[in-house]
């Protein structure tokens, strides 16, 4: 038993309650919120180090042995995702100190952020399909409330679409879980890996398809992504950074987990299908983005296109490809969130997200331009930034697996990504602001009115992106270790089930 597997769930929960109880005392509430998020980050680092050093960690909650009880498992992939979630959580909570309105806080804004973190960590750490469903629902309900805070008409409408499609996805998930239990007699993931091997592969593939659709909706994969650009862009930037960074990635995490651990009977069919979906996801996402002229909408479409790259790694199903996807996951969570946070700073300065009305920022605030440029170029895959190595690894793996079509698609999409990033750059930073004199010199290097709490998270994210780009090797090695562990689940199964079976 290891307490560190439990703490990433317990700490956000206790913080949520604390923050709610301290509702009337803003100072205490803020300190609790920041403290909880900071503590979570420390714990997450500890957990990753522990798993890296000592192997997979397991807790059987309430001492009910697997496969009967609730199991929490931390393998390298889970631990890494928990660390990313904690990092994003802390960043967004610091950032929100500057942007969250008093009214939103009255409805429990920061408490809900912690609640989402609990749900996300729970989903990453659970070793049981039904618990995965429960964690999904918990983080969804918190995200519903967060999206609708403010109650503007477009928010209500966007949230309603988000709620409706996610309820539908959850029902599909539930149906799939029910049938899975009916045919396999267990819902423990490690046990499932054992049981499904003895079932006819047609049945298992059918089940796999149900899960593919259910998780595909949550992940925003083609052709089930349409809810994402219809709802995300109504939220404030800080929230969007968290949603873009984490929510869809939980869906991808679930896909990777089930399609490496137990839906591996007929990879020729299932994983080829995932590969095709990956290609379409990339292309539709980036084409949607090219057509947009609103900062948040444009980036929302990019979320979809990046999901395609992650699925590509899963679809190729080799150690190199999965390693690339894991590296890509780290890169895209950081880069995407950083971009949305920069968007929030621009909104704070100019009061609009519309590209047409923005301009001149590169001369006024060179530092802000730099903060945008690092994640943007990284996302487009310009060497030596992190996105380049991620895409390089995926392309190399694709060539090795002789899947030339998907490689060509991914390279083309990369170009279009670069194009739409240049579009933002040209519109927001380079061109003159419409109807204003061209300023001659910078007002200041960075916009001071944004304050430390907005600039610090963006700065740190950008710095991490540069570091994992320039010193890519440790992270690449870790990603390959993660992929190796995912592709050889014997260790996972052995650790979870122990001597039970």
């Amino acid at each position: 038993m290891n307490i560190f597997v439990l703490l990433p769930i317990l700490i956000p929960l206790i913080t949520t309650i604390g923050v709610l109880l301290a509702r009337q005392r803003p100072r205490l509430r803020r300190n609790l919120s920041l403290g909880g998020a900071g503590l979570l980050l420390i714990i997450a680092v500890e957990l990753l180090v522990l798993v890296w050093r000592d192997g997979i960690q397991v807790i059987q909650v309430g001492e009910w042995a697997a496969p009967f009880g609730i199991t929490l498992v931390a393998d390298l992939f889970s631990a890494m995702m928990v660390l990313l979630a904690a990092l994003m959580g802390l960043g967004v909570i610091i950032y929100s100190q500057a942007t969250a309105e008093q009214r939103a806080e009255h409805f429990g804004y920061s408490a809900l952020l912690h609640f989402i973190l609990m749900g996300v960590n729970g989903a990453f750490l659970t070793g049981d399909m039904f618990n995965l469903y429960v964690w999904f629902e918990l983080l969804l309900i918190a995200s519903f409330v967060l999206l609708v805070l403010g109650g503007r008409r477009d928010q209500l409408e966007g949230t309603f679409k988000y709620v409706a499609i996610n309820l539908f996805g959850s029902i599909l998930f539930l149906v799939a879980v029910g049938i899975l239990y009916g045919v396999a007699g267990t819902l423990n993931m490690a046990d499932l890996a054992d049981q499904l091997n003895s079932l006819p592969s047609g049945l298992v593939t059918t089940l796999a398809m149900l899960f593919l659709v259910a998780f595909g909706i949550k992940a925003g994969a083609f052709p089930l992504f349409f809810w994402l650009p219809a709802s995300y862009h109504t939220a404030p930037a800080a929230l969007l950074a968290l949603f873009a960074g984490l929510m869809t990635k939980v869906g991808v995490y679930a896909l990777v987990r089930v399609f490496t651990l137990f839906f591996t009977q007929d990879t020729g069919y299932t994983h080829t299908l995932i590969l095709i979906i990956a290609g379409f996801t990339m292309v539709t996402g980036v084409l949607g983005a090219v057509a947009q002229t609103e900062f948040r909408k444009l980036l929302s479409f990019h979320i979809i296109s990046q999901i395609g790259y992650l699925l590509m790694g899963l679809g190729l199903f080799t150690t190199a490809a999965l390693g690339g996807a894991v590296y890509f996951m780290v890169h895209v969570i950081l880069a995407k969130s950083a971009l949305f946070l920069v968007g929030g700073i621009i909104y704070k300065l100019r009061g609009t997200y519309n590209l047409k009305q923005l301009g001149g920022l590169s001369i006024l605030y060179p530092g802000l331009a730099l903060l945008f440029l690092i994640p943007a170029l990284s996302l487009a895959g310009i060497p030596p930034l992190s996105g380049f190595w991620a895409k390089f690894a995926l392309v190399q793996a694709g060539l090795a697996a002789e899947q030339y079509v998907i490689v060509a698609v991914s390279l083309g999409v990369s170009l279009l990504t670069l194009f739409s990033m240049t579009k933002i750059w040209a519109e927001v930073f380079w061109k003159d602001q419409p109807g204003k004199e061209t300023p001659v010199q910078a007002i200041s290097f960075i916009p001071h009115q944004a304050g430390v709490s907005m600039l610090l998270p963006v700065g740190v994210l950008a710095a991490i992106l540069v570091v994992i780009g320039l010193l890519a090797e440790p992270l690449v090695n870790l990603s390959l270790l993660v992929a190796g562990q995912l592709l050889n689940p014997a260790d996972y199964i052995e650790t979870v089930l122990g001597g039970v079976l």
Binding site: L13, V61, I70, V148
Partner: protein
């Protein structure tokens, strides 16, 4: 809606329903019942009171913001899990007292957990329904809030 019959009957029904909800809560561990059903019955009792005598008197009867019940309930449930952890066992391990009390039976952390669930269910249900009832009575922008 003001009905003499309903409001008079509610005065007698309310204590009965609340007692029944506690009865459900206590027998929950070994027999049908439990925190969730008990909480729903208690919430239904308060909603009935609100329907008969008006939302304001229902709020006055409750005395505190129903949201407070959610927070306290969550805290109770977490503490019940932590007790197992603090005693050196795994999180959520059931701890039982050795003595049996009259009426209640054996005390243990699962009961504490159930009390937490009971409070959360009352809190959540009342928060939602009171918000809807507020919308009904005046079109002021009510609170949209859950969990």
């Amino acid at each position: 809606m003001h009905s003499m019959i309903l409001s008079t009957a509610t005065r007698y029904l309310l204590p009965l329903l609340l007692m029944f909800s506690i009865f459900l809560l206590l027998r929950g561990h070994n027999e049908p019942g439990g925190g969730f059903t008990g909480g729903l019955v208690a919430a239904a009792a308060l909603v009935l009171y609100g329907l008969a005598l008006g939302l304001r008197s229902a709020r006055q009867l409750l005395g505190i913001d129903p949201r407070m019940l959610i927070y306290v309930g969550l805290l109770t449930a977490v503490v019940s899990g932590l007790l197992g952890l603090l005693s050196g066992q795994v999180f959520m391990t059931g701890l039982w007292s050795t003595q049996t009390l009259p009426v209640i039976g054996k005390l243990g952390t699962p009961l504490l957990f159930d009390v937490g669930v009971y409070l959360v269910v009352i809190g959540v249900t009342l928060t939602i329904i009171f918000a809807l009832m507020e919308n009904e009575t005046d079109s002021k922008t009510g609170s949209l809030k859950e969990e």
